[in-house]
Symmetry: C5
Subunit: 323 residues, 5 copies
Amino acid sequence: MLINCAVYRDGHKLTDIPPADISDYLEQPDCFVWVALKDPTPEELKAMEEEFSLHELAAEDARHGHQRPKVEEYGDMLFSVLHLLELDPEGQIKVGEVDVFVGRNYVLSVRTRSSIHFLDVRARCEREPHLLRHGAGFVLYALMDAVVDRYFPVIDRLGQELENIEERIFRPNSSARTNIEELYLLKRKLMTVQHSATPLLEAVGKLYGGRVPEVCATLQDYYRDVYDHVERITKTIEVLRDMVNTAIQVNLSVISLDDSAVTKRLAAYAALFAMPTLIAGIYGMNFEGMPELKWTLGYPLALCTMVVLDLILWIRFRQAGWL
Amino acid sequence: MLINCAVYRDGHKLTDIPPADISDYLEQPDCFVWVALKDPTPEELKAMEEEFSLHELAAEDARHGHQRPKVEEYGDMLFSVLHLLELDPEGQIKVGEVDVFVGRNYVLSVRTRSSIHFLDVRARCEREPHLLRHGAGFVLYALMDAVVDRYFPVIDRLGQELENIEERIFRPNSSARTNIEELYLLKRKLMTVQHSATPLLEAVGKLYGGRVPEVCATLQDYYRDVYDHVERITKTIEVLRDMVNTAIQVNLSVISLDDSAVTKRLAAYAALFAMPTLIAGIYGMNFEGMPELKWTLGYPLALCTMVVLDLILWIRFRQAGWL
Amino acid sequence: MLINCAVYRDGHKLTDIPPADISDYLEQPDCFVWVALKDPTPEELKAMEEEFSLHELAAEDARHGHQRPKVEEYGDMLFSVLHLLELDPEGQIKVGEVDVFVGRNYVLSVRTRSSIHFLDVRARCEREPHLLRHGAGFVLYALMDAVVDRYFPVIDRLGQELENIEERIFRPNSSARTNIEELYLLKRKLMTVQHSATPLLEAVGKLYGGRVPEVCATLQDYYRDVYDHVERITKTIEVLRDMVNTAIQVNLSVISLDDSAVTKRLAAYAALFAMPTLIAGIYGMNFEGMPELKWTLGYPLALCTMVVLDLILWIRFRQAGWL
Amino acid sequence: MLINCAVYRDGHKLTDIPPADISDYLEQPDCFVWVALKDPTPEELKAMEEEFSLHELAAEDARHGHQRPKVEEYGDMLFSVLHLLELDPEGQIKVGEVDVFVGRNYVLSVRTRSSIHFLDVRARCEREPHLLRHGAGFVLYALMDAVVDRYFPVIDRLGQELENIEERIFRPNSSARTNIEELYLLKRKLMTVQHSATPLLEAVGKLYGGRVPEVCATLQDYYRDVYDHVERITKTIEVLRDMVNTAIQVNLSVISLDDSAVTKRLAAYAALFAMPTLIAGIYGMNFEGMPELKWTLGYPLALCTMVVLDLILWIRFRQAGWL
Amino acid sequence: MLINCAVYRDGHKLTDIPPADISDYLEQPDCFVWVALKDPTPEELKAMEEEFSLHELAAEDARHGHQRPKVEEYGDMLFSVLHLLELDPEGQIKVGEVDVFVGRNYVLSVRTRSSIHFLDVRARCEREPHLLRHGAGFVLYALMDAVVDRYFPVIDRLGQELENIEERIFRPNSSARTNIEELYLLKRKLMTVQHSATPLLEAVGKLYGGRVPEVCATLQDYYRDVYDHVERITKTIEVLRDMVNTAIQVNLSVISLDDSAVTKRLAAYAALFAMPTLIAGIYGMNFEGMPELKWTLGYPLALCTMVVLDLILWIRFRQAGWL
């Protein structure tokens, strides 16, 4: 679906144009065309491929989707793949994709499997003509910056989830089974985000410092800023992953501890029953010469002995922390 | 066994030729020869070694087989080893090998221990003469691309296996023993694929960017595309390996939890038996002054007490989650 | 809040000036201005941004805060972010931030969320005019040196915490639950310090050796000294992390050992009760021909047998280490 | 002990010579001398050191032995240390050492603590004069190739040991203790091989590509082949190490599972005894009004009840997998 | 404390001199001064700082002590920090430090917190004037070589400790608690040695190959030899660390196994008591129609039944390995 197709000159929007006119405007040296597609049909993509004469391999990547994040140069065209991360209401991470083709005087963004849109990016760019004047390279920066900035709430959410689990782990009577399942799912989510963010380090790193594609040459401070954000994200994920691994190990220790506590309790209760049972057994013996059996208070005394001994045991187990 | 032996000029197939004529065609500057062998006998290999005057060490590697994936230059000849991965019906991974010798005007592929064939690669190349015109370097690309593309279903299958196990791990009453065995086997398979894919990163990396063998010089975008696929595979394997390791640890926690639950149940049942046994013991004592023994309802009352106390215990154990 | 705003010439303080005069002094080639802000309002920051004409992206980073430690060049201006680490009385680590803008003839430090101040740094600089003569680059060094030096007591404290836990782990009757919780928290703190210190390695590494920003060019030995301190910190953290991980594993072993000891005790006590219960059961049987029941000493003999057998059992369990 | 001392010219052996004549032949520009020592006495080594004027530090290394594998240049002399790995009949790995001094026109190999000899290497070299013509550099290659090739059977054996243990781990009733001990010993052996093989990667890497010692300059394809073998070995070891670590973890899970199964069985058997004991206890009570006691079939009915209830329990435990 | 202060010319010792004369000799171009201090007072250090005009930052490092091992250049002066490792009689590692200042014509070594002295180094240097002629750089080499050589006995001792623990781990009836504690302490010691040795790799690496400080330029083979020793040490430590980690894991498995064995024994003993208790209970029932009670041999038969059944159980538990 075509979202937008507009021509810009000198940092200002000239007009919206129909897709068929794109190639005309591409010939004008001082304009650039900015097209946005969403979940395009193969035919729409094919049309764009021809309008912009995109490289076969890049177009194929956009057609297939499910690429790793990357920035590739095909001649003087840049092809960039970014992952879009969304949290659905249950806290699951949805991974979408935006593929951006950046030429000397055009930007084509193809967004798939995601509800994240870039209308605000376009609006901001149009509000800042002194920056938009940099042309297609600035649009790529603005898109990247917007994509990466939306990783932060996802990371924060994951960090929050870890803290919730941490709090529960050391709380007695928490469900170790739930903790472990949630830690595992959290690890999965972290791997998803890492899978989306880490390749960006290398990709964005190509756009500043050293030899830089011409279209980005005047914007190195800006791309370094994106790089810095991506690095912050990846380092935070690393810390979270490390802590999740440690939490899984620690949880195992807590489970073992609980198991040990249960065994202690089992032992204590067994003793509390075994002691009076033994006494009852003794006075159930059929010896003839058992004087206690004849005592008037024999029976109540026996019962008292049972209760008293159990009380003593109970207190000692209490003190030892077994009960 | 000789599968194919054909001469190409300007991107089009000229004719099939007998192996003995190869050296004649090699002298024609504008042709290239494409030969495919399958599980060749030492004699067949020896014949090819002489027709193409292959380097002794490369020929020896092809003869021995069981090489690591690699790309090596011997003068202006490229020697490339690729692993072929197949899933057999039980989900086991079969590793085959294809060794490709690429000269200025010839390609010799030697396939062993695998049922994967490359007839479709040859057909596709012949359908795209504008690409096949690049010569032997393009054939190498097409073969690599085909080999690597067949890694994806293998990886997907392994990812699917992990998901199946994951689902079972947290389901109560699943067989922890089966889970653990399957996780171990999955890890083994992942190592096999990694062993096949990871060395390709370095190998394919030599074919684009920086100094590139002449035969591949005009095809760098294509080799970069293969590299990108290999990287996607290796990164996915890394994630899977990490998750398998975590799943093994998590499964251990689940086992410990189950053990703990069993101990609790053991303790609870022991108590349910110990309580009436104690009461029975008490009324089995032989004291003379035990008034309850004389009561008409003594016996039924004793039985009731046993039942009631056990019910109370049972309810409390239920509430505590021990039963 | 403005803390300080002074002009220096030739290593000596000239005078305190109001912020509005800064731009005047910046035009004088032989002076440099040193401004210190603490938790500034957006307006204060905006004013400084204009006085010093700071780069938009750097100013934005300072406004947002919560950056990773880094050193970035914007033209001939250096922008540096450092983390300030404080221990609160409960041993928690508070992370503050100081952002330093360093130009040819100015230093602007913006401190947020921290009670650590740099009055002593300013005082020391003013006492050493032969060093302060190096200008803004030396002030940056002095600030970095002061920030990094305050990491050492934090690290020492964490090392001390580890030693305390270590001592407890192997002591019998220590609370394994507390140990594990403290190990986890310690790991968290180590990750916090590492998160603050490790990026400094790369950042400070840019300021000596190789191509160096002009403002630091004459101070490379000094920046290498800071680098050396940071490296000492990061290596110490690595060792601590490794030992914490090992301690968590070792603690799990100790827990398992304790569990095993409890099971042994449970078994021993069960036997101590089961033996006399069995004897009592035997003499509770109703056979007619049980001669012992008629013996005068039958009853005391039975009791003695119980005690003696239990004593023997007790001694053997003692010897086996089960009790 | 002197094994061999011969002069070669143009790829052919001239003659065996006594060690004292070595220095004479070294002056002839077109010859090279190949000397092999085995477990030499310090005096023998000293004599060689003087004949070849070896560098003091290299000679000292050979005298001390127990070096890491390495290749070092001393001026235009190469000093290479290789480990020799042998399997003794019990599957233990014996580590020997061969130190090779390679000059422009001599090779001196010093073999210690190993029964592996190189007579076949010398024989093969003499059969291939077109290769031996490359001189001392080729002899070094032939020795390295022979040493490295003997690592493969060792690795295969270790891989086989792992497979044996793997099979046992998941088999019920296998001895977990033996498995664990063997896994540990296997890990030890893997570390030994890795210790011998990994440093070779760097060492052999110096002999091809980039700046290469003159004596090896024409043999780069050959050294790359050795490098490739070493890499195959080190990668295989890495996989084995990883799998051994995983197997140790998996074995722990299996142990925990077995423990859990034992606890279940304990609980089940306890119940099977507790149930009839309780019934017996009930009918052992001394109440007057227990009608069952008077029934003719009371006793057999009670026994039947015990058996039937136990049967029911037994069936249910069977179904639950506890027995 | 001043240990030594001597002047050397052309590899030979001229004379001992008082510290105050140092600066006079430093002006003579063909001499070099070698001073050794031990645990110096701040005043002694200050005096040396002035005699040699040491760089402020280096002098400060020496004053503070507790530096990481390193080699730093200050102009044409080298500042080197080395750790001295000693084993005290209980096997604890004591870490001392020697700081070496090396100028064109002087060496100043400052040793602290260690009883290791370098008199033998000085003696050896004076015995080998042809090497000492290289000047201050050779003295630095000799000191480094001596320091590093003393790491080997420490490592050997740690390797020996690991072997002792390994032997005990798999021996039944060994104290798992002691093993675990010793493994943890061993790990600690390994980290200490690693902390001292690893930074030397980088430090010594600066002294050979590539751009080398002038004072060491003619001694690159010697420094490479030191590097090689350090690498051997660090690799051995890595192997030891890896094995210690594995041993900790393996020990946990052994503990779990022992725990499982105890549970089995508990179950077996419980059964051995429960069986006769049940029989006794049955014959303690008060049914009227129990013919066995009337049999003359009823009682001994009952006892026999108990013994026989227990014997059968005992044999079966024995066979199952539970007892």
